[in-house]
Symmetry: C2
Subunit: 229 residues, 2 copies
């Protein structure tokens, strides 16, 4: 039976899978392959074209065709509004503002966000529920020097994250993910025992070179942040 | 003193910061702005051009110029080879293979990677050190049906992640981040007490539609995964 372009693709893939062709390895040119597979050059060409489109091989005019090297790997992690995250699971979202205080930024916050001495800040704590069960506990600081109108916003109905997304057109952020033991405060809000391992996110957001907000989020026990690349 | 394009930019930014212009809000056209600011239209034009380049406003031929909406937010989290991650901090990397076993894939693994009944797998456990202290504990499974030559690889000198990156040209992965309590095994390897909160990553990697590896990684206590967007 005649060799098809599918046979050639399968053979190249099998050679990579067996380790006979490693990333970076040079693949013979189309004339040589046509001889090896005893088929028309057009058949080889189609196999090579599809392997290139699928990202398995790379064709360069001068350097020849090589098995592609693994790309620089990174995962894209969505940073959704928590209401959208909860509603996407089919659960009912509920939000509760626990505390609200206008105050002077504490030293650790000034340090973290490069705020001036005496800077004013709005400190909010909130709880986000999925189907009535606590899902995320939020401890939020907003710079009132940068966003003075945050002082007039009504955070009893809408969470500060949703408000900020609607208030500021574009932002840069620094994010850290980690695992922490629930302290008494987080444990009480998330209905778990103290020292339970919790997934935590910290995020500082900047706009036009100035820090506007810092937030620390504790997720319910067992929470997993899932993504793909 | 004459109004400069910088004055106009600063005024638009201040209006956004004060909440007078929200994301999506329409900005008057250049003729109107030139009248408002009592300046040449070219001055307004330069201010608008720079605000557009900086991503603060969006100019559309028919819809007019608007304050830009917050983009869909996502963080890019690098998935480095652990040796690179450790060496990037200036620490000395050391690697140790703890165990190696060729075995039949257990039910939970077949389930997770859609492997056939009786599929063969290579099970490795390894420890990665930074300056002599345990940094990451790795529990790795490799499908020997997909990558039979993994059975011949020497994993005493090179970790399986480095070997896989060199063996397979391109891959898709599913990743989950979470917080778990250290079990006796992880605690012993990472030199911490049982129940210490640990940051954990789980990753399934696929190539050409077939699962090739599943790994569970426990990081040392206090580890934070940091990124920005």
């Amino acid at each position: 039976m005649a060799t098809t372009y599918r046979d050639i693709k399968a053979d190249i893939l099998a050679r990579i899978t067996r380790g006979a062709l490693a990333p970076g390895a040079l693949i013979p040119n189309e004339l040589e392959l046509a001889e090896t597979y005893d088929c028309a050059r057009a058949t080889v060409n189609r196999a090579m074209r599809e392997l290139a489109e699928e990202g398995v091989i790379e064709r360069k005019r001068k350097a020849g065709t090589r098995v592609r090297l693994a790309p620089r790997r990174e995962a894209r992690v969505p940073i959704p509004i928590v209401r959208h995250e909860i509603e996407a699971t089919g659960a009912r979202y509920r939000y509760s503002l626990l505390s609200r205080e206008e105050t002077t930024a504490p030293d650790w916050l000034r340090d973290r966000l490069s705020l001036l001495y005496g800077a004013r800040a709005l400190h909010l704590t909130c709880l986000h529920f999925a189907d009535g069960a606590p899902y995320q506990y939020e401890d939020r600081w907003i710079s009132l020097d940068m966003l003075p109108h945050a002082a007039d916003a009504d955070f009893t109905a809408t969470g500060p994250n949703e408000w900020l997304v609607a208030a500021i057109p574009f932002s840069n952020a620094e994010i850290a993910f980690g695992a922490v033991a629930a302290d008494a405060d987080a444990a009480a809000h998330l209905a778990c025992t103290e020292a339970t391992p919790l997934f935590q996110t910290e995020r500082s957001t900047w706009w036009q070179g100035e820090a506007i907000t810092f937030v620390r989020l504790w997720f319910r026990p067992g929470y997993r942040l899932e993504t793909r690349y």
